[in-house]
């Protein structure tokens, strides 16, 4: 009886030593595995931090100084003086307002036009592929070219197409880019970005669950009812994605403004204004940095709200 007990004890002792060794080895393997999972991402991560985050810290630092490029690098700390002057800077406020208008109009406009185009394209007809190709093309065009092209051959009052059409209709042609700078830029932006939205919505339409649509039809839903109650909710993530990507790019628009309207105040958005006041010749690095920080903060706030609303884009897919 006692022998069995001793045996069991021994056995238990040996077992637990083996278990401990195994547990230690397991821990080592798990640590190694953790690094194996992390290492592949590090190059991209480090690169992104180096090129985007570190300059940003510099900007933050500059924004607290009175630095102008034409003074020999005094970088005198003036703390928040630059920020204090922002509220009285009407040019800055005007540019901010232009930025908001331009982004909202361009994103919404291209989203609406793009969705319409996608719906039209999502049916079989003669030459469907060809028409889709035609419709995609504006997105591929270099923004500089798009701007020049619209400014000179569309908007121009003497040899522009729109002027010519107005002439034919007996109207007096106007110089659009000068009279309506903001609208002109927005039109070109919508022309370029509708195809992008169209692609995204088209992917959503084509990825629809057909059986649900059929069920709806069996249940006697009208086409419009099916669209509103079934297709639209299914499209939601795609519309959200379009809004997100569109906003990211459109809030930073520079090329079109530079080319179409130059420095006209009516269409001068923040990126354009800030670039002009710093490296574009204004040389007010300290002040411009403060502008930039405000823009970044605003963007982060808007993006966070946006991403939280769109949070399902970041949800797991497993």
């Amino acid at each position: 009886m006692s022998a069995v007990t001793v045996d069991q004890l021994n056995d238990g002792g040996r077992q637990s030593a083996e278990d401990q060794a195994r547990a230690a080895e397991l821990k080592r393997l798990e640590r190694r595995d953790g690094w194996r999972r992390r290492i592949p991402i590090l190059p991209a991560l480090i690169y992104t931090i180096l090129v985007t985050q570190i300059p940003f810290l510099f900007t933050l630092f500059y924004s607290l100084t009175d630095w102008r490029i034409d003074t020999p690098d005094p970088r005198q700390f003036i703390w928040f003086e630059n920020y204090g002057s922002l509220s009285g800077d009407t040019f800055f406020l005007d540019s901010a307002w232009v930025s908001v208008q331009m982004t909202v109009m361009a994103v919404l406009g291209s989203l609406i036009v793009g969705t319409g185009l996608a719906i039209l394209l999502d049916r079989k007809f003669f030459g469907q592929g060809f028409v889709r190709t035609l419709l995609i093309t504006p997105f591929l065009v270099m923004p500089v070219v798009a701007g020049l092209m619209w400014k000179l051959q569309m908007f121009n009052s003497t040899f522009g197409i729109i002027g010519w059409v107005m002439n034919q209709l007996g109207l007096e042609p106007v110089e659009f880019a000068t009279r309506f700078p903001l609208a002109s830029v927005v039109v070109v932006l919508i022309w370029q970005w509708s195809p992008f939205m169209m692609l995204i919505v088209l992917a959503g339409l084509q990825g629809q669950d057909q059986s649900v649509l059929e069920a709806a039809r069996v249940d006697g839903a009208t086409s419009w009812g099916t669209f509103r109650q079934i297709t639209l909710p299914q499209l939601r993530p795609f519309l959200e994605l379009g809004t997100l990507l569109g906003a990211i790019y459109l809030i930073q628009v520079y090329d079109h403004i530079e080319v179409i309207v130059g420095g006209q105040p009516g269409a001068r958005n923040l990126p354009f204004y800030i670039a002009g006041r710093s490296i574009g010749g204004g040389n007010r690095f300290g002040l411009s940095s403060a502008y930039s920080i405000v823009v970044v903060l605003a963007s982060i706030i808007i993006a966070n709200i946006g991403l939280r609303v769109l949070s399902n884009l970041l949800e797991d897919d497993s």
Partner: protein, 288 residues
């Protein structure tokens, strides 16, 4: 032959009536042509004489290749050949670096995710929310201090950073579509990590890789702001060259149009060839 056919399976949203379908097909054609019209006109203008281009719009003219010859041959501060090769190398190298960095990152985010991978992905996306104006000044100053202003290198560095988040995001989605079991099967079959990526994963995600790379090429080829701000003339790219074809005196529309056609053509052609993959890459990939 019927001008239109009704799709048998994906039921169109708008009416199912044949007359309505015909009307919608015609409408789609008209809108498509309207959208394309500015480009069509651009190409026409490129074949015109300056005087013809700069007068009331006309479809009747003697086409000439002279404008194309002029814009490619003139020795301005930046010639077409210089700008083209600058763009070519900058786009090629930056896209190559982007893919080299993004493929392992996407693998690590999708196939063997670390803990908190979502935060990392969010970080990558969030850098796209950082307005370029937020970093352009220090970038300019650092580039100046490193003597990189006016070099191709600075654009390669910046375009890589610009496209990297998008590439990581898109590739992660493509990688996430690889069935988990395939990776496990290859592990059981005794495949090394590199073999697994090369023989099992890459063949599946190849179309996604192509779409991603293409999008990076498009964005990099078309980029203007950095090229204008950080590059003096010698090392600058095609968009800057096109912009410089504007003249302050005389007629230049035809020449500018010819230049625009040359600048746009490579990317438009590439986009046409790969449009289907881009649809998947942009939307399905990102939503999944």
């Amino acid at each position: 032959m019927a001008l239109f056919t009704r799709a048998p399976k994906p039921e169109p949203i708008l009416g199912q009536n044949r007359a309505v379908a015909f009307f919608l097909a015609v409408l789609t054609w008209i809108i498509g042509l309207l959208f394309f019209f500015p480009l069509f006109w651009l190409v026409l203008n490129g074949f015109k004489e300056e005087a013809v281009a700069s007068s009331s719009p006309t479809l009747i003219f003697d086409p000439t290749l002279d404008r194309f010859r002029e814009v490619t041959e003139t020795t301005n501060l930046l010639t077409f050949a210089e700008a083209f090769w600058n763009s070519f190398w900058i786009v090629l190298i930056s896209t190559f670096i982007v893919m080299t960095l993004a493929i392992p990152a996407a693998y690590s985010l999708a196939i063997r995710p670390m803990r908190k991978w979502r935060d990392v992905l969010f970080f990558f996306i969030s850098t796209k929310f950082l307005p370029i104006v937020g970093i352009i000044m220090p970038v300019w100053i650092i580039a100046r201090d490193l003597n990189l202003l006016g070099t191709r290198t600075v654009l390669v560095i910046l375009y890589t950073a610009m496209n990297l988040p998008l590439a990581v995001w898109m590739l992660r989605s493509f990688f996430a579509e690889v069935p988990k079991e395939l990776v496990e099967a290859s592990q059981i079959d005794g495949c090394s990590l590199l073999g697994q990526i090369r023989q099992v994963i890459l063949p599946i995600v190849a179309p996604g890789l192509a779409a991603t790379a293409l999008l990076c090429v498009i964005f990099a080829w078309n980029e203007f702001f950095f090229a204008l701000q950080l590059n003096n003339v010698g090392a600058s790219t095609i968009p800057v060259w096109v912009n410089s074809q504007q003249k302050f005196q005389g007629q230049f529309l035809a020449g500018l149009s010819a230049a625009s056609v040359l600048a746009t053509l490579p990317v438009v052609l590439a986009g046409w060839v790969a449009q289907k993959r881009m649809i998947r890459g942009l939307a399905l990939g990102a939503i999944k």
